[in-house]
Amino acid sequence: SAIHIPVTPSNVCKARRLYISFKDVGWQDWVIAPQGFMANYCHGECPFPLSESLNGTNHAILQTLVHSLDPENTPQPCCVPIRLSSISMLYYDNNDNVVLQHYQDMVVDECGC
């Protein structure tokens, strides 16, 4: 389930809330904890001019400039995760052993262009 948060003044690139429930994906029979986690995702446009709040790379600024000159052949920069964090999961394996595993890059904390 995705919850869209209205952004003003326009739909600019930003992290959006996305809660992943292990029950919803049918993993509750082997995942012990957590029950779910705030995964989030990136969505929105990277319009010209890129403001500082959009966390644009130098490449994105150049691409935005070229896009403004040649919109047919050069797309706008993409809205992508620029900072991710990890989660830990407790689960049962096939032998009923209890496993604690640490997974990096599972939560989108920040997005940028």
């Binding site: 082997w30 049962y92 009923d96 052993n97």
Partner: protein, 240 residues
């Protein structure tokens, strides 16, 4: 969806969706130490101070497993040792992926004991000798099983009423078990000490005490805590 699920499971280091015993058997108890580590990891995730360290054990790793013992009681009173109990311990190390680097394997054996007589109850504790052997190769029928064992540990233990623990670092041994066809497990030998060990009717075959109806938990309970590192899922911290 199945294909996407497969891709995600693979990225999580799982070849397929785990199928635990589920509703057919009672779920295995989650060790309190693992819960503590999980809660601590949840708090520290935002900081990411040392993402591939298991600080509880002071080793590098991103996977902690409590591997169950799959061995069986060899016999109540074995032929090789008239007054002792032998228990085969087997930990399936093939569940570790080849890419994983084993950082630590810590054996914990819990001996549950309940005094059976008023004398034992008054004494409060009972001394036993515990020996742990690595089985080097399988034993053929009729041959002396002790030839194929290497002693790892020998110590006397004071059994306390309810529960006593024996722990040992088994990292090197567990690493050797990862080689296919080399894991023959361990033998735990328990010998009651004292002037009349035969009166100390402590252990029975089958892991339970038949005389005590309320005494349902196993007498010898062993688990291997294995910490490993999957380097593919442990990127180095970015320079700023």
């Amino acid at each position: 969806t199945n294909r996407q699920e497969q891709l995600l499971l693979r990225s999580l280091g799982l070849s397929e969706r785990p199928r635990p015993a589920g509703s057919l058997q009672p779920r295995r108890h989650v060790p309190s130490a693992l819960w503590r580590m999980f809660r601590r990891a949840e708090k520290l995730q935002a900081l990411e101070s040392q993402p591939c360290m298991v600080s509880e054990y002071g080793v590098r790793g991103n996977i902690v497993r409590y591997i169950q013992d799959q061995g069986r009681m060899v016999s109540g009173w074995s032929s090789s040792c008239q007054a002792c109990l032998e228990k085969h311990l087997f930990f399936n190390m093939s569940i570790l992926q080849p890419v994983e680097m084993l950082s630590l394997a810590h054996l914990e054996i819990k001996l549950h004991w309940k005094p059976l007589s008023p004398v034992q109850l008054l004494q409060g504790s009972q001394a036993i000798s515990a020996s742990l052997y690595k089985v080097i190769r399988s034993t053929l029928n009729g041959t002396n099983p002790k030839v194929n064992r290497r002693l790892l540990l020998s110590q006397s233990v004071q059994l306390q009423p309810e529960s006593t623990s024996i722990t040992m670092d088994l990292t090197a041994v567990a690493e050797s078990w990862r080689k296919p066809g080399s894991n023959y497990g361990l033998i735990l030998e328990l010998l009651p000490l004292g002037p009349h060990p035969e009166e100390f009717f402590l252990f029975y075959p089958g892991n339970s005490l038949p005389l005590e109806q309320d005494f349902t938990f196993p007498l010898v309970q062993a688990s291997l805590v294995a910490v490993s590192l999957n380097p593919n899922r442990c990127r180095s911290r970015q320079r700023r």
